[in-house]
């Protein structure tokens, strides 16, 4: 589905990614873990076109998308739930969700039944359904995170990129967010998940990549990575779990 080959990217003169390869097959959940400054968010930005890669290739469903603008990439079916949520705070929950479907309006009529998808998204996130007319800015942090994910779902995407969905959430909500992720997974949604909370991410994922200093240090099936002593020591040990 999504394939990244020898990707290099950075900011100005500072190079962050030094040639990384990631493959996200259709219907699978792939997780990207690593410490602060390893380049996880930069990878996400390079995929979504928010920064332009300096070398390498990103393909989505066989189409080369590196160099495309973000809105064009979204229209090709790549949804992004960004770090720190970034919901439209002065708009209602429903309007936020409808905006998520905006890239589907390409011709004179939208692709698919948007009304139906809106109902489906609200079913999936009952807390949002209760608050559908509330302004997004008045939602709590956890509800905003759910809104960001629901908004991504509204694109009816080929793949969803989730950047730090559990950040700053109460333990009870972290649990709920991961429940939703596995729920989406069981519906066959393809996902690339970036998460500091590595243990939970590896539990839900099929395959994982470990990013260190802008390079892929190791990768393998999630169940194997979980037992890898090096990964355990660096990312799963002691603190960090709940």
């Amino acid at each position: 589905m999504l394939s990244i080959k020898n990707l290099e990217a950075g900011y100005g003169k500072v190079k962050v990614l030094h040639g990384i390869n990631i493959d996200v097959p259709k219907g699978q959940v792939i997780t990207l873990i690593g410490s602060n400054g390893a380049g996880k968010t930069t990878t996400m930005r390079a995929i979504t076109g928010m920064i332009k890669p300096t070398a390498g290739e990103v393909t989505l469903g066989g189409e080369k998308i590196d160099g495309y603008d973000s809105h064009k990439i979204a229209r090709l079916g790549l949804a992004h739930s960004p770090e720190g949520r970034r919901v439209f705070t002065t708009m209602s929950v429903t309007d936020n969700l409808l905006l998520g479907a905006f890239p589907r309006f390409t011709g004179s009529r939208p692709k698919g039944d948007i009304k139906h998808d809106l109902d489906k998204a609200l079913e999936m996130f009952p807390r949002l359904k209760e608050r559908r007319n509330q302004l997004a800015g008045t939602l709590s942090g956890g509800e905003q995170q759910m809104l960001a994910m629901a908004r991504a779902v509204m694109l009816n995407p080929e793949i969803i990129l989730l950047d730090e969905p559990s950040m700053g959430l109460a333990p009870i909500l972290v649990e709920e967010v991961f429940k939703i992720i596995s729920n989406l997974k069981s519906q066959g949604v393809t996902m690339l998940l970036v998460e500091q909370f590595a243990a939970a991410a590896l539990n839900v994922a099929d395959y994982g990549y470990v990013l260190e200093n802008g390079k892929i240090a190791t990768h393998g099936p999630a169940s194997k990575l979980k037992d890898d002593p090096a990964v355990k020591a660096a990312y799963l040990g002691g603190a960090g779990g709940h």
């Binding site: 400054g37 730090e164 959430l169 990312y235 709940h242």
Partner: protein, 643 residues
């Protein structure tokens, strides 16, 4: 030695400046050069407000006029000499700068621009109407000042202006590199964090406007003598826009930028008066841009697509200049077009662009890691030693605090008691009122009812900066660093309270200021080393990875010498090893006797360091006790922890 070497170009420039009238001979050109110097002085001051404090002012033409008229009136009505009119102009204009600052405390951005514009209009009208004082539209005639009994000639006056310009340069340069300049930048990047570092946003905004106006007053005074005639319509809003344009085109936060900006706004209109001169300059610009673009393309620092429009623009302008027969009809259109080109393509101004262009061409790659191997003096005590005496006594008492926003009770009669030397955890679901509590404790919110006693004294109604200075430091849930400033500068803002030196001491680099700066620098490096960021000291805070930004915030808070440290979700976004490091740092700070309030969602962090934990839900305290007790509490499990 290094210092001497780097100041050689400056010394050559100064020598050249003084030789200029001897070379130019023509009084018209000397006068033009003099005007550039005077505008440069004004732009130095305007840059404080625009570049450092990040406010827009369209009132500086009026301040310039107030400076001119102070000199003009004292000269005309009282016949006072220049050595009195100069300080008088500075003081009077600085006073009006203080008045202009008052709206800036309430409004920002486009609203402030409108208010300052109104200030300009009012000032101009008043000068025009107060004929008994200002001679109104007739204007005031002046003569060049006297020097030892005889009037100065044009060259001598030029030298006088040059001396003041160099003095202004030195004073401004030293000011912006001192704790004052850092305070200005801090309040631009994050007013809220600035207040919580004990640097009063209110006070320093006013100071910035006052200093800025002082320079406008000096420039205005020199201008009055230079023109030998002043009238109200000189100081109109068009001039105010021109000044702002000078800063934007030259490049903000740069003395060279101010000088270039001044030269552009003085010379460009003159240039467009003469078709031949315009042809020459347009050709030179086209050649420079084409060569620059070719170099950039060959070094692969840009793409053909990005340079095509500016190159076509400047080449087109050069061709157009030769096609033109007369420039008179086209003057304003060309002026507008050139401004558009500069503002659109050189958003950091000419100096900012030249800097980054030079860096990319010369291949001076910036690396995030490494670089400065500054030796850190380990003997410095960088954490305030509160000591363990009185441990266990009550340091902070929150007494039935109610915080109401409209109908919503974000905090509903919450009591807390924080014991000295302990780590007090504050947990609860998102939106339960934890961050609101932090904001009440640090004076950002004033509670609707109830009281907060810190070391026996009520903090309710005190400003954030006063509370910070009394010993309560904090970090923020969504990191509030001063983004454009380097890591070490961020810490130095936290150390602002250690500076006692005033403006005069800074301008003259007197021993006390130099000692304070050196001590603060050494302590800032020690603090950076403590959180493991000493090798990133000169990196801009906004370029640091998220986790390092959180550590930098803690180090900055420690710089305040706090007794009570409030940490708002310090572990959010950190990986397991980072969290271990954070715990080590927290314990080490606690061992110095500092008391903590810790908001955190990572339960293992809360469980491993907290002595007491309070749980909030919907603005009410639902549980309190030792970590293990709270963890087993049914209500807490239901509301927060989950099964």
């Amino acid at each position: 030695m290094m210092k001497l070497k780097s100041s050689i170009p400056l010394l050559i420039a100064i020598a050249g400046l003084f030789c200029l009238p001897l070379v130019l001979q023509n009084p018209y050109y000397i006068h033009l050069a003099e005007t550039i110097l005077i505008y440069t002085i004004l732009l130095f001051g305007l840059d404080i407000v625009v570049g450092y404090v990040g406010q827009v002012s369209l009132g500086h033409a009026a301040l310039f006029g107030i400076g001119s008229y102070t000199a003009g009136i004292l000269f005309f009505q009282l016949g006072w000499p220049i050595w009195i009119t100069i300080p008088a102009s500075i003081v009077v204009t600085a006073f009006f700068g203080g008045i202009l600052a008052l709206p800036a405390l309430k409004v920002v951005g486009p609203y402030l621009a409108m208010v300052t514009l109104a200030f300009g209009t009012i000032a101009q009208i008043l000068i025009n109407e107060m004929t008994w004082l200002t001679e109104g539209p007739l204007g005031i005639k002046l003569t060049l000042p006297e020097l030892m009994g005889a009037p100065m000639n044009v060259t001598e006056y030029f030298w006088l202006v040059a001396v003041f310009c160099i003095l202004a340069l030195i004073v401004i340069d030293r000011l912006v590199k001192s704790q004052m300049g850092r305070a200005f930048e801090a309040l631009r990047d994050s007013p809220i964090a600035c207040d919580c570092m004990g640097v009063s946003v209110y006070r320093f905004k006013v100071i910035a406007f006052v200093i800025s106006a002082g320079f406008a007053g000096l420039a205005g005074c020199l201008y009055a003598y230079s023109e030998q005639y002043i009238s109200p319509n000189t100081y109109n809003n068009e001039l105010a826009v021109l000044f702002l344009l000078g800063i934007i085109m030259g490049g903000r936060k740069s003395r060279l930028g101010a000088a270039i900006g001044a030269a552009i706004i003085v010379l460009l209109p003159k240039l467009l008066d003469d078709i031949n001169l315009f042809r020459i300059v347009a050709s030179i610009i086209a050649v420079v841009v084409v060569i620059g673009a070719a170099m950039a393309l060959s070094k692969k620092v840009t793409t053909p697509r990005r340079v095509v429009v500016p190159v076509a623009g400047v080449v087109g302008l050069a061709v157009f200049s030769f096609w033109l027969n007369s420039i008179a009809d086209w003057r304003l259109s060309i002026f507008g077009f050139m401004i558009l080109l500069v503002v659109y393509y050189l958003q950091n101004g000419i100096v900012g662009f030249a800097k980054s262009f030079y860096q990319s061409i010369a291949g001076k790659a910036k690396t995030v890691r490494g670089g400065d191997a500054e030796v850190v003096d380990d003997s410095i005590s960088f954490i305030s030693a509160v000591g363990n005496q009185n441990a266990g006594a009550e340091l902070l008492k929150v007494d039935s605090v109610l915080m109401q926003f409209g109908g919503l009770k974000a905090l509903n009669k919450v009591d807390l008691s924080i014991k000295r030397g302990t780590i007090h955890g504050l947990i609860g679901p998102n939106g339960s009122g934890k961050s609101t509590m932090m904001n009440v404790l640090t004076g950002i919110y004033v509670p609707t009812a109830g009281n907060v006693l810190y070391a026996g004294e009520s903090v309710v109604g005190k400003t954030s900066s006063d509370i910070a200075l009394s010993g309560i430091a904090r970090t923020f849930q969504n990191v509030q660093l001063f983004g454009e400033m380097t890591a070490i500068q961020n810490i130095l803002v936290g150390l602002h309270h250690t500076f006692k030196s005033n403006m005069v001491e800074i301008a003259l680099h007197l021993p006390r200021y130099k000692r304070e700066e050196a001590e603060a620098h050494a302590r800032a490096m020690a603090l950076l080393k403590f959180v493991g960021l000493d090798d990133l000291a000169n990196e801009e805070a906004r370029n640091l990875p998220y986790g390092k930004q959180r550590l930098l915030e803690i180090a900055r808070a420690l710089a305040l010498d706090p007794e009570l440290l409030l940490l708002d979700e310090p572990a959010a976004g950190l990986t397991a090893p980072d969290i271990q490091e954070l715990l080590r740092i927290i314990r080490k700070i606690r061992d110095n006797g500092i008391t903590f309030i810790l908001i955190e969602h990572h339960m293992d962090v809360v469980m491993s360091v907290c002595d007491t934990v309070s749980v909030l839900d919907f603005g009410q305290k639902i549980a309190e006790g030792k970590p293990a007790e709270v963890q087993a509490d049914e209500k807490v499990i239901h509301a927060y922890l989950g099964a």
